[in-house]
């Protein structure tokens, strides 16, 4: 483990031109671990980090079939917010915002969390009504959210077209000042470095091929690099979560959809907040480099294919220009897609399963990245103490067979 990162260290290495030490190590696969985490994204790495930090569980392996942060953690649009609709959703995501706020200091890694504010636009009376509902739920939970009218929207974002003679006029918005964006790769790398420093082993290019279950208990994992004996397996994958759960014989309420996103050429900073329109299926933020990052809703049918489509870029361009006509000459730089595990109630599936020792932290749909820290913290607590934390009790797998779905649809379907 290298030294702490600091301004002085940066200056010294700039002058001496010494190589930076590796941020995390490479290991041979051990024959056994206390905990095996499948999926080296923000959820898996945060779970490994908090297992060691909060509970002293250090004999942990994080397996990824590719490279860490190469799945959903590196493909999302990095928007952080907690202005959800249900009280349990608000409490859960607000804990994540709190953890994100302290994350750079906690991990000694600059995650570039910019709380620039988050605007969810309302284009009709019924969305305005939902905004008021969300603002009231947020206020009760102590989260800063307020409904603003179109003049206030214009003051916050001068480039938005708030005229009333358009197809989708902006009547108002839910303004959420603590919302913002974070550098998603940095979050992954920071957690990887922190987990490694506390003893967890990160194994990249290590694909899980099977899970050994006997008498309703997890006994081990079969990987592309050999078998591992373990009593605890945590499914922290996105996109592939059904396939991993299938290996343990656990059926999932998950359907995998691609979600496409795109980025433009860089321009001068002009967009102050994160702007979201659920009606137009688009969300926009500007990166520190000046590029505009756009995301949309999931593709119209389930798929594991991550190929982009012309329908997406056409629709996106139309919707963005509806909001900001002055962007007409901006060129798209690239588009990509990531896999979203959608559940019937737009809420995750976290916790125990019918197979003892097999835990899931899946079904993260389009809201997984913003939940990374709190998911890691609560899953670590569950694994270490065998008690389900209050914060995630409603997200259990059994809710689908017991008929108590969560009902977060109003806030999470498109609403980044």
């Amino acid at each position: 483990m290298g030294a702490r990162y600091s301004a002085f260290g940066l200056l010294r290495r700039g002058l001496t031109r010494d190589d930076w030490p590796r941020a995390w190590r490479v290991h041979d696969l051990a024959p056994a671990y206390d905990v095996v985490i499948v999926g080296g994204g923000v959820h898996g790495l945060a779970t490994a980090y908090y297992l060691a930090r909060n509970h002293g569980v250090r004999n942990v392996a994080v397996l990824d079939k590719g490279y860490i942060g190469g799945g959903g953690s590196g493909r999302n649009t990095a928007i952080i917010r907690s202005n959800y609709l249900t009280p349990e959703g608000v409490r859960f995501y607000d804990r994540s915002v709190a953890l994100y706020r302290g994350l750079a200091a906690e991990l000694n890694f600059n995650v570039m969390f910019s709380q620039r504010g988050h605007l969810t636009l309302a284009h009709n009376d019924s969305s305005l009504r939902t905004m008021r509902w969300r603002a009231e739920v947020n206020a009760l939970e102590g989260v800063d959210s307020q409904v603003v009218d179109s003049d206030e929207v214009k003051a916050l974002e001068p480039y938005l077209d708030v005229s009333s003679d358009v197809r989708y006029p902006i009547l108002g918005a839910l303004y959420h000042p603590p919302g913002g964006v974070v550098r998603h790769d940095a979050v992954v790398w920071g957690y990887a470095r922190g987990a490694d420093a506390r003893g967890a082993q990160i194994h990249q290019n290590t694909e899980v091929l099977g899970i050994d279950v006997a008498a309703g208990r997890v006994r081990g994992v079969i990987t592309s690099r050999g078998p591992i004996a373990t009593g605890v397996v945590v499914n922290c994958t996105a996109g592939w979560s059904t396939l991993i759960s299938d290996m343990a014989g656990v059926a999932m309420p998950v359907t995998t959809y691609p979600l496409q996103a795109a980025v433009t050429e860089p321009v001068r900073p002009f967009l102050n907040t994160v702007v979201v329109s659920g009606t137009l299926h688009v969300y926009v933020s500007q990166t520190a480099r000046g590029e505009l990052v756009f995301g949309a809703s999931v593709d119209p049918f389930a798929s594991y294919s991550m190929r982009g489509s012309l329908e997406f870029s056409e629709g996106l361009a139309g919707h963005v220009l509806e909001l900001m006509p002055s962007l007409a000459k901006l060129r798209l730089l690239r588009q990509w897609s990531g896999l979203c595990d959608m559940t019937p109630d737009y809420s995750p599936v976290m916790g125990v399963t019918p197979v003892e020792g097999f835990y899931v932290d899946v079904g993260w749909g389009t809201y997984g990245f913003k939940a990374g820290p709190v998911a890691g913290e609560t899953m670590a607590e569950l694994i270490a103490t065998s008690k389900t934390p209050e914060l995630i009790a409603t997200f259990d797998l059994a809710r689908f067979t017991e008929g108590r779905l969560v009902g977060e649809k109003g806030a999470a379907a498109v609403g980044h």
Partner: protein, 84 residues
């Protein structure tokens, strides 16, 4: 473009259709709530060929069943023996 073979209209752009989702066997009469909840919520969500329903909303407005490879989005009609 992804082409969906509609048995009534021929191969048409997938954007004319609404995907209804993978087909699952309905529980029989007299079963309790749990099989129904499984039927409603649990999905096999395979990475590979899946049998699924589509609705040709901008065409003949009829429901059809096709097979699709979720890894490549290749769509093909159901094998003839399944059509009866």
């Amino acid at each position: 473009m992804i082409l969906v073979p509609c048995p009534h209209c021929g191969a048409r752009n997938a954007s004319e259709f609404r995907c209804v989702g993978e087909q699952r066997a309905r529980p029989g009469d007299g079963t309790g709530p749990e099989p129904w909840r499984s039927y409603l919520y649990l999905r096999s969500n395979p990475a590979g060929w899946v049998t699924e329903g589509w609705y040709h909303r901008a065409g003949c407005r009829r429901y059809l069943t096709v097979e699709r490879d979720t890894l490549t989005n290749e769509v093909r009609p159901l094998p003839a023996e399944d059509l009866a």
